[in-house]
């Protein structure tokens, strides 16, 4: 089924040697890597969000760049700029940190909209225009962005249209006490060892081809469409539902999950497992969610749960 040297499960196992727990985060990173999308990680500081992204880049053996988003960041700090060379009398292009296989946009909501747009344009188009020239981004190209939900002072909320560009949004939760004990035992103050070159970029590209060939029965496609349509039904707490991009994302991630599980066909469990991560950042919750103190996650879960499985 997979022409690659290594199987996706190998990468997942390697990541777990560095990251304790956080299985959902690691799976989301792997599925997004296979499905060719970008990941938004939201969670309090200290939960290994950045470490997970670094470990992924190190294990894949591709290039990795980290951009710390700050209020004074400029678009050219991300995409690159043109510099005048006095000796040759011509402009030369200096490529920015976005030109890497895996880009970590740390605290993406700390930069203004203009800077976020520069990153998100590259995410969507897989190319960047600097002056008169257009440069393709490497393949695979995955942006992993992090956000801290607790410290909102001095942040710029990502608009819904930009959130839609992220294939999945993962809520990174605190580890269990048992996992925290293992963290203490494994690292004990030392820098965690990174898995190095466990798979290659060619393996990832082969997985992508294999995932596209995973079979999705028409009944399952109908379920995917029904799930996304359910988000658009009249709801007390949701003003706007998910776009057709969510439909495509659900199908792509279900295929990726089936591939990682060693199957060449998707089942309802694949769709259901990835649905919260695909839908949670694509719904526009209204003010009543805040005034009634409703947990948005419970709304997402109830919308998903109300659709009969095939």
């Amino acid at each position: 089924m997979i022409a690659a040297e290594q199987k996706p499960q190998t990468l997942l196992d390697a990541l777990e040697t560095t990251i304790v727990g956080q299985r959902v985060t690691l799976e989301a990173l792997l599925y997004a890597l296979i499905a060719g999308g970008h990941v938004l990680l939201e969670g309090p500081p200290g939960l290994a969000k950045t470490l997970a992204c670094r470990a992924l880049a190190s294990a894949v053996g591709g290039s990795f760049k980290r951009i710390q988003f700050t209020p004074d960041l400029l678009p050219s700090d991300i995409v690159g700029t043109r510099v005048f060379d006095q000796r040759s009398g011509e402009f030369t292009t200096v490529l920015g940190p976005i030109f890497a296989h895996i880009v970590l946009a740390d605290e993406v909501n700390r930069a203004p909209a203009k800077v976020q747009s520069a990153l998100l344009e590259g995410m969507q188009e897989h190319q960047v225009t600097i002056g008169p020239q257009t440069f393709p981004l490497p393949d695979p190209f995955v942006v992993t962005a992090t956000m801290n939900p607790l410290d909102s002072e001095g942040t710029y909320a990502l608009p819904l249209a930009q959130m839609d560009r992220f294939l999945v949004k993962v809520l990174v939760d605190y580890p269990s006490t048992e996992e925290e004990g293992r963290i203490l035992e494994r690292f004990g103050g030392e820098q965690p060892a990174m898995p190095r070159d466990v798979v290659t970029v060619a393996d990832v590209i082969a997985w992508r081809h294999a995932a596209r060939a995973v079979h999705v029965e028409p009944r399952l496609k109908r379920y995917v469409v029904d799930l996304v349509a359910a988000t658009r039904a009249k709801h007390d707490y949701v003003d706007r539902g998910a776009s057709p991009r969510a439909t495509l994302a659900l199908a792509a991630l279900a295929r990726a999950r089936a591939l990682v599980d060693g199957r060449d066909f998707a089942v309802p469990d694949d769709v259901r497992a990835v649905a919260p991560a695909v839908l949670r950042h694509r719904l526009a919750f209204n003010y009543r969610t805040l005034t009634d103190k409703i947990d948005p996650e419970s709304i997402v879960a109830s919308v998903i749960g109300a659709v009969p499985t095939p």
Binding site: E217, D264, P268, D269, D295, S298, S302, G305, T309
Partner: protein, 277 residues
């Protein structure tokens, strides 16, 4: 067991249970019905903790419905607790009626904050009696249709009279009075063996799906449950052979057409093992 007790006032944070709410869903069946019919409103809550009941649950306003009763149950396993409340309701008014979300107040175990969880709302389409004709329609009936109807009735009566005179009916021979027979109530028929036999005879996707639907019904799968949900819920009590059947039938239901015959063979073998076990 009062696990869905409505709260009168907002509970203070000190009285709230600390819960990891996995799902909180409200469904109705049927969603389209007539005034006076009965619908089942089901509220299902799944939490990670083992609890005997859920407090601080507020049911929505159910005006426009008569309450016919309710059932409540909570079951705990190694995967937490699932609490279900089923309300039997009967609509008293026609039109689309939206039942607002049911809410649950608890300390969210993920962040330690008092939270207000809500289910989805449910919209019910209530159909009344057949609509009465409006004024224009009634005038049309009075002006045009009534004279025509009278003519037809008069004609039919004349024809029946003539036909009756021309043909005198023969007296019918007396039929023997049927002897009342005592019929035993039909024995309950297990629908699964015929479905498996039909699958063995005709190895097609619809036959697989029919077997899958019957097995899911038999093991008590809800319509919103995937195979994974079902296996997690029933993990403690299930036998290995049944789990193999569920997996094999799931595979045969979703595999591509080229691999379908092989998947059906595996499903039939698993069903055979299960039957033996």
């Amino acid at each position: 067991m009062n696990f869905l007790a409505p709260v009168v006032a907002q509970a203070s944070a000190q009285t709230l249970a600390r819960l990891h709410v996995r799902s909180f869903v409200m469904t109705a069946e049927p969603k389209s019905l007539h005034v006076g019919d009965t619908l089942r409103l089901r509220i299902v809550t799944h939490v990670d903790e083992n609890v005997g009941q859920l407090d601080n649950v507020t049911l929505p306003d159910l005006s426009g419905f008569d309450s016919l009763g309710d059932e409540r149950a909570c079951s705990s396993s190694g995967h937490g607790t699932e609490c279900t409340e089923i309300l039997a309701l009967s609509p008293t008014e026609t039109g689309d009626r939206t039942i607002a979300p049911t809410t649950l107040d608890a300390i969210d175990a993920r962040n330690g904050k008092p939270s207000h969880f809500a289910t989805n709302p449910v919209t019910i389409h209530v159909i009344g009696a057949a609509p009465q004709p409006n004024g224009v329609t009634r005038a049309l009936i009075d002006d045009l249709l009534k004279p025509i109807a009278i003519l037809i009735l008069v004609g039919a009566a004349a024809y029946a009279l003539l036909w009756g005179f021309g043909r005198r009916p023969r007296p019918k021979p007396a039929l023997p009075r049927p002897v009342p027979q005592v019929v035993a109530p039909p024995a309950p028929v297990d629908p699964l063996p015929p479905l498996i036999a039909a699958l063995a005879a005709e190895r097609t996707r619809p036959r697989v799906l029919a077997v899958r639907d019957e097995i899911r019904r038999r093991v008590g799968a809800r319509e919103d449950e995937t195979l994974g949900d079902l296996l997690r819920r029933r993990a403690a009590g299930d036998d290995r052979a049944l789990v193999d059947v569920l997996r094999a039938v799931e595979r045969a239901s979703f595999v591509d057409d080229d691999r379908l015959p092989g998947a059906i063979d595996e499903a039939l073998a698993a069903l055979s093992n299960w039957k033996r076990a």
